[in-house]
Amino acid sequence: MNLARETRRARWLRRGLDTHVSLPLFAMLLLVAIWVVAFHEIDAEREHAQEAATDSLQEMLGTYEAQVARSVDGIEQTLRVLKYAVERKGALGALPELGREGLLPPGVVFVVGIVDRNGTTVASNPVAPSISVADQGYFKFHMERDSGATYVSPATRDAANSEWHLHFTRRLDDADGNFAGIVIVETDPAYFTSSYERSRLGEHGQLGLVGTDGVVRALRSGDKLSFGQTLDGPAGKYSGMRELHGIGLNVLIGLDEQELMVGFERQRREKIWEAGILSGVLVFVTGLLWLWSWQGARTRARMRRAQETYAAASAASLDAFFVMREVRDARGVIVDFKIVDANQRAEQMTGSSKQFLCSTTLCTLIPEARQNGMLTHLIDVTRKGGVHEQEWQSTVPQLRARWLHQQVVAVRGGIVAIVRDISERKLAEERMVHLAHHDTLTGLPNRSLISDRLDMTIAQAQRSGGSVSVAFIDLDGFKLVNDGLGHNAGDDLLKVVAERMSGCLRASDTVGRFGGDEFVLLLSETGSAVGAAQVIERVREAVLQSISLCGQEVQVSCSIGVAVYPHDGADAETLLMNADAAMYRAKEKGKNNCQFYTREMNASIEEKLVLLEGLRNALEEEQFSLVYQPKVDLHDGRVFGVEALVRWNHPEHGTIGPDRFIPLAEESGMIVALGDWVLRTACAQNRAWQDAGLAPLCISVNVSPRQFEDPRLVERVQQALDDTGLAPQWLELEVTEGVIMRDLQQAVAKMAQVRAMGVSLSIDDFGTGYSSLSALKSFPISTLKIDKSFVRDLGRSSGDEAIASSIIGLAHRLRLRVIAEGVETEQQRAFLRENGCDEMQGYLFSRPLPPLQLAALLGAPTPRLAVAA
């Protein structure tokens, strides 16, 4: 509360001190002062003027009084002289006598006259006609009494003097003291007002003589002369009257107030004008200054607002702001930067308060700046100007960030540094780079990184003349684990394998995952004690160790193909391709082994490509044919069926066996069309034999995995039967264990459909896959076929004999018939017959035959020939 009031007071004080507020106030005070002084001076002037007027009036009155007194005195003197001369020389002789003596008053101003006791003028100077003045007041006055004084009459005119004049008269006495007439001095009334001066009395002043009787003898105002009227005392403020003693006259001076005050009025007007002009100038100048200062104040306010906005914006910014001013030494070289402003983010980044930051310099805050180039960079920026951006990894403990992005802007006399903590971004970038180059599951380098590393290693080897081994590793049986135990188990397996592989490597080696169950090793021959071959062998053995997955012990092996730089290829692509080829060879060689690349491998691949090319047209060009291998009943030696086997009569390579082209057809997807063709051809052939009158045979057709997975399999089989008119009981489909085990449920359902059509089913190559024996019982099959690999060593390998006899026993338990394939010797047949095998096929009885030969064989009278033997 107190604080608020204080700040309010401070604000008012500040506003009051602002020029644009204080200036008008000051100007107004000045204005008031100007007018107070002006009016004061006017008042003083008025007083002075009034005093001067009074003084002037008194002075004029005095002067006029003296003039009039002297004139009247002179006139009285003249009257006495006249009286004396008349009494001495008589009325007629007086004037000439006086004229001779030069004692007459000047005729131009005064007329003198002598009147006898009868009232007749007897003499005058200047000479005038004689008239009677007996009836005039002045004559009667003197005739009636001897006053002993001069009588002053009002202005009159008479026959002798046609002009208005005043009479000054005195009584003449004879020797006896009786009235003897009068002596007269006449003068113009204007005589007494001739001292009227316009310069002092103006146009409306008054100057004149007034009798004590109140009758005006002479009064002049401006040019106007008047007399005869009655006046009662002085009129107006500035007028005065004084009495002349002994003659009954008053002198009168009057001043016109307006005229008196003309000077003062003029001064007053001048003063008011001066004050007005001064005020105007003051107002104008103040206005200009005010406008100027107001604009300045507005600019300042705008700048303050901009600064506040900037401060608010910078405070809220995610970037740290440092405003720094140059610190120069005596020579003018920049040696440091003084921090003058910093925002909140800067406080956080440095862990120092703003007060501390603003009291320190860059090199005090970060002493390392002198060594690590920071100061040099900033000085460089001040010299070059502009904006400089850079990212750097902070090694300075004062800055709490690992990676920084800084923007330095040169401003006048310093710089502004905007620093952002980009550690998180950098971390994310690193993570992304890692992700792009590594496999997420195992954390091993991925294909692209391996390729890069390989390029790098090759380049090194090229320089040093060393060699590089590239090993392509593919896990054997991984698919089984994945399918049997689930993808999670498969992932776990891959992780364990990856770890084991990494554990086997030397420091200079690299292992990466190419995807799926493929791994690649890069092994450089560095002259180390352990050779690349040894490392590979260690890897193979490590993979072979059993692994516990989902509580189950699992063992996988791997097939390894190796290609060596520079012998097997000069670039990464070739090396990888050749290692891949070698790996395939290892697979073909029965897995769990390591193959080094040879040129033949490529040759076989090339051959493969040629075959694949031919395969596309083979079906259309009818290059395929079927041969039929008889199946013989072991008990009675009767041929009860045949297995249809496909041959490719290649126009260039001759007859090609299915082991060479079936995988290709499987890979390329042509197997479906080929299988369809085989099925139809076999059915048609069987029907043809039947039509030819041969005893009915059951014909077996192999169904490849891809064919079996075809959803239209049942439909196709039905179509083939319908088209050829073969009864279903004469057709048997042979399916391998692996095919069924892929998706047991679906496989069983499909087999049931086939079975329902009346077509028989048998399991081919039994014993090589991982058949679930529990599932076997639910299979709608009629026959098991013992794989020829077990048959081959019968009579020589007790193990194979045990397997064969076990299979036979098992089948019989499940009420299935058993057929052995690949029977080539009597010994084998004997064993099988002894162990209760039902049927056989093989070279011992007949190799696969074309239809005609087979028909001939069957048409022979002794088809049981072999049995007899």
């Binding site: 003039q67 000439p96 000047p106 005729g107 200047p126 113009d188 204007a190 007494f192 001739s194 001292s195």
Partner: protein, 150 residues
Amino acid sequence: MPKLILPWLSRLLLACLLLAGAGAQASGSTADFVVVVSAKSPLTALSAEQVTAIFMSQTGRFPGGDEAIPLDLPFGSPLRDAFYNKVAARTPALMKAYWTKMVFTGRAQPPRELSNSVAARRMVADNPAMIAYIDRAALDPSVKIIQVTP
């Protein structure tokens, strides 16, 4: 020399013209005055202004520094009016107003008035300080005419 002669010649010519003019006027008017001083006076000529100044009591001395006492003829006489009209270029009324004021304020007294030209001549003849205007007819060798130049 010509520089001196020329102003002198021009002044002579002017004086002759003035005299001729005065003569012409005298033939048509009764008031034919001449300005005179005593025959003993060294003075021969005065300008109208100098004469006016003396007669209006504006100065008490001749141009040479000698005392000057003017003499008037009676107020209202034709010769007096002619004199002032001619020399001072003032009417009688103006002259009266002038003297009224001078006398009243005590600054000056008008010249002494003599009854006629003869009396004036006599007065002048005896006193070299005096100057008067008189009727030409009253001239005699005791006085000499002062030439009044414009």
